[in-house]
Symmetry: C2
Subunit: 273 residues, 2 copies
């Protein structure tokens, strides 16, 4: 969580200055670290970029897996813009760190996509739990990895995603430990945000979803779990990266975990009511 932008006053939802300011700073190369805590109040997105030949099937995969892959926007082939998420947004430059995958292997983590961009690429912006965490924090719930300044722990489960012909792989979940009353309240709050994973997919015994040891997450940092707390699990937007490792498509690009695409959409606008 180092390498932060110097922040001025926190922005407010509805004020698009801060999100744009941060995005332009990233584009200029002035911020290369994780984006948690930046442009407070604005939606950040997971990114998945695929060649057109696989893009339609990934769209179907997202339709069949709305909890891990809630789509915020899909680009037109070859276009590096997503005007619905930000007028000036440029998919080639506006994420602080990308991951380039060939045949399912991570081959590079570039800071822009100028060297690898192709005219047949389609980008998918997928909701991110940062949006609902803001609502949990606003309710007074201790979101542990936020209060401890670490990355949220994420785990590959034994729960299969709903496959398409070529795309399949295990569901990845993020975990937040909470007292039961807070967990119940968190179910209510996150249910209001279906486009950023919605309600939890599991709580309690991690073994029931194939997690052997909470202290060894597959992504992110180990959690601090206090006495009397339950682990609460949400579907995670890193699931597509697990699908890439499983399916090994010839070419794909994602964001680097924690290094999200910052949009001009206020988090409040994602509430279903």
């Amino acid at each position: 969580m180092n390498d932060r932008l110097p922040t001025s006053a926190p922005s407010r939802p509805g004020d698009d200055f801060e999100s744009r300011r941060v995005r332009l700073a990233i584009r200029r190369g002035e911020h290369r670290g994780p984006t948690a805590g930046l442009a407070h109040g604005f939606v950040q997105a997971n990114l998945m970029i695929l060649p057109r030949a696989l893009a339609n099937e990934f769209l179907l995969f997202c339709q069949r897996n709305p909890k891990p892959c809630p789509l915020l926007a899909v680009s037109e082939p070859g276009e590096h813009t997503l005007p619905g998420l930000g007028d000036d947004l440029d998919l080639r430059t506006d994420v602080p760190r990308y991951r380039v995958w060939r045949d399912g292997e991570l081959v590079d983590e570039p800071e822009d996509l100028h060297a690898v961009w192709r005219d047949d690429l389609v980008a998918f912006a997928i909701g991110c739990s940062f949006s609902f965490e803001e609502a949990l924090l606003a309710d007074g719930i201790d979101v542990r990895h936020v209060s401890r300044g670490t990355n949220v722990p994420m785990y590959r489960t034994n729960v299969p995603t709903a496959a398409t012909r070529r795309l399949h792989g295990p569901l990845v979940v993020s975990m937040r430990p909470m007292k039961a009353a807070d967990a119940i309240r968190a179910v209510q709050i996150t249910s209001r945000f279906p486009s950023v994973h919605g309600a939890p997919v599991h709580l309690g015994d991690p073994a029931q979803i194939g997690i052997a040891d909470l202290q060894h997450p597959d992504y992110g940092d180990p959690p601090v779990i206090l006495d009397g707390e339950l682990p609460v699990f949400w579907a995670c937007g890193v699931t597509p990266q697990s699908v890439i490792r499983t399916v090994r498509p010839t070419f794909s690009i994602t964001h680097a975990p924690g290094h999200m695409l910052i949009t001009d959409v206020p988090n409040a606008r994602l509430a279903s009511f």
Copy 2:
């Protein structure tokens, strides 16, 4: 609303006997009328069937227009099953009346699809307001067309859908007149059902969305509006039929309005929380 199946005791959500019984009766040709009121408690779906060549783009259209086109399921090309909606479901026989469209013109209203089925067809099951009407009725709200035994009035608006390259056309809405307090409550209730159109898209002045005369709906029956009531408008699953008329694809199949696909999914399962 004639031509009804003789009904036995109403079924309960969670009891899949009644939905299956009705679906099999339709398959045997014993019911050819509208499906409103049948298999109480179970989800009914709008149907859109397109050749594979246009299906991926329609999937994208649905992603961009989730209020009129909330997808419940998408078939594999050429498969006439949707196992997620009913183990035995057969898309060729289980709707009481279909519409076959060529070049945007309605050319036939067959009772099954055996004569026109093709191996390249992809079916889209789209949520239907019957599901949320059950929740409104359960709350004690007078859903006028239900209490009067007519079809819900539907209107083409001047609100454009979010276009894809080839697919575009005006949003179609359904309308239910209500007192203001009931309209506010209906906003709360239907917000819980995003996969069957969710919250209203408009209320009050019809002219603001391009409706000149509520007594002349484009589909369904004219409404009875009582003193002190507001018209409340929801996005409608007939919107794809309006897109067909606008875009004129070579070949497509839909259900006939009011003649829905009956599934084994309890309405209660569509509640977002």
